[in-house]
């Protein structure tokens, strides 16, 4: 019979829908069919995947109608061919914990040089498009990381729900790499990091005695 498939990932981009992906096991060359089955906590009934296509091969997409965040899903995938069938280990899914938004967008870096004061860097960004329209439904928190271009170690700064951050303590003449990512409702998963942004701190960025 076919080897046991493995459910590799379940993600929700906006706490409204979610998708699970699985990895087939070896099928010994026999054409093998995969069926995703799920039950909801406290219910005996077993349901089948409502949509195998929308999210591509080896996936199951749960639209709004099939997505509830008042319950824990118990999900398994069964592989069947002429030699027999085999079922994956169950995967328990709570939609609130699998929310992984897209990265923040419109990241801008601006050096500010106030007259009698030190230059500082202002970062601004916007929530990912999908989350933006649902402000209030998803409470996004942000974290940024930076390091000198040739540095090894990232320094991460958690900035909470702000979409702007001022950095004072930067080294004149240094070039920095900066990225930012976000998470929903402090339960979910961090988004991918945004692309890398570069900024060079001018050498006249003296640290003067005030």
């Amino acid at each position: 019979p076919p080897e046991k498939p493995t459910i590799i990932k379940c993600r929700s981009p906006e706490k409204e829908t979610f998708t699970c992906w699985w990895k087939p096991g070896s099928d010994g060359g026999h054409p093998t069919n995969y069926t995703l089955l799920y039950s909801k906590e406290g219910e005996q009934q077993i349901y089948e995947c409502p949509d195998y296509r929308t999210a591509g091969p080896n996936s199951c997409y749960f639209d709004k109608k099939h997505t509830s965040f008042w319950t824990i899903y118990n999900i398994t995938v069964r592989a069947t061919n002429e030699m027999g069938s085999n079922v994956s280990d169950p995967r328990y899914v709570d939609v609130t914990y699998i929310v992984q938004p897209d990265p923040p967008v419109n990241v801008t870096l601006e050096l500010k040089k106030p007259i009698n004061r030190k230059t500082y860097l202002v970062l601004t960004w916007s929530p990912p498009p999908l989350a933006d329209i649902r402000s209030g439904w998803l409470t996004l928190e942000y974290e940024l990381r930076l390091k000198p271009e040739e540095g090894e170690e990232w320094e991460t700064v958690f900035v909470g729900q702000q979409t702007q951050y001022k950095m004072f303590s930067l080294n004149p003449g240094k070039k920095y790499i900066i990225q930012i990512h976000c998470k929903a409702d402090h339960y979910g998963l961090w988004s991918e990091w945004s692309p890398e942004y570069y900024i060079e701190i001018p050498t006249d960025f003296r640290v003067r005695d005030m």
């Binding site: 906590e41 008042w70 824990i72 328990y92 899914v93 209030g136």
Partner: protein
């Protein structure tokens, strides 16, 4: 991920988590109801003194609900949950029609259209959640008694613009009020049942 012990049959959300999500959802619905009411009020109700006429216009006025903190605190949690369920149910039908009828308002901005649909969807989700919470208290079939019928659809389709706009105004005013009620009661229940009145 909530790690359910392997092989455990009953991997269940705690009552605390259900209340946490219900409060977050009711907070969001009330935020939307406030925004859509304010937007409608600014765009369509200025100078029409609708507030004076909206008095005793809510279809849920027949549901006797606690009117202040003491009354709410003296109400048993199952009664309060059933009241919340009754108010939510009473809004299912009007919100469906609001979401469709609001499309016909002259130059209704996208934000009003989108929010009407979002409110209808989220109200249904909250209804599902409250039923789940009530189910935790008694497994029997949830009573259907608390409910207030809405007969306001014809008024949303009136030819006379002032009357039609007043009907929308009243609906949005009443929903904003009831969603605030639900939000307040849920917070009280959460603090009472989950945090031992020490939020």
């Amino acid at each position: 991920l909530p790690i359910c012990p392997n092989g455990s049959v009953n991997c269940q959300l705690s009552l605390g988590e259900l209340f946490e999500r219900a409060v977050k959802l009711s907070h969001y619905i009330h935020l939307l109801s406030t925004e859509i009411f304010n937007e409608f009020d600014e765009r369509y109700a200025q100078g029409r003194d609708f507030i004076a006429r909206a008095v005793n216009g809510c279809h849920t006025a027949s549901l006797t609900t606690p009117e202040d903190k003491e009354q709410a605190q003296q109400t048993h949690h199952e009664d309060l949950l059933n009241l919340i369920l009754g108010v939510l149910r009473s809004w299912n039908d009007p919100l469906i029609h609001l979401a469709s009828e609001v499309q016909r308002i002259k130059e209704a901005p996208d934000t009003i259209l989108w929010k009407a649909v979002e409110i209808e969807e989220k109200n249904k989700r909250l209804l599902e959640g409250i039923q789940k919470i009530i189910g935790r208290f008694h497994s029997g079939e949830i009573g259907n008694e608390v409910y207030s019928q809405w007969e306001g659809l014809p008024s949303l389709q009136l030819a006379d613009e002032d009357s039609r706009l007043f009907a929308f105004y009243t609906l949005l005013h009443c929903f904003r009020r009831d969603s605030n009620k639900i939000d307040s009661y849920l917070r009280l229940l959460k603090c009472r049942l989950i945090h031992n009145n020490n939020c």
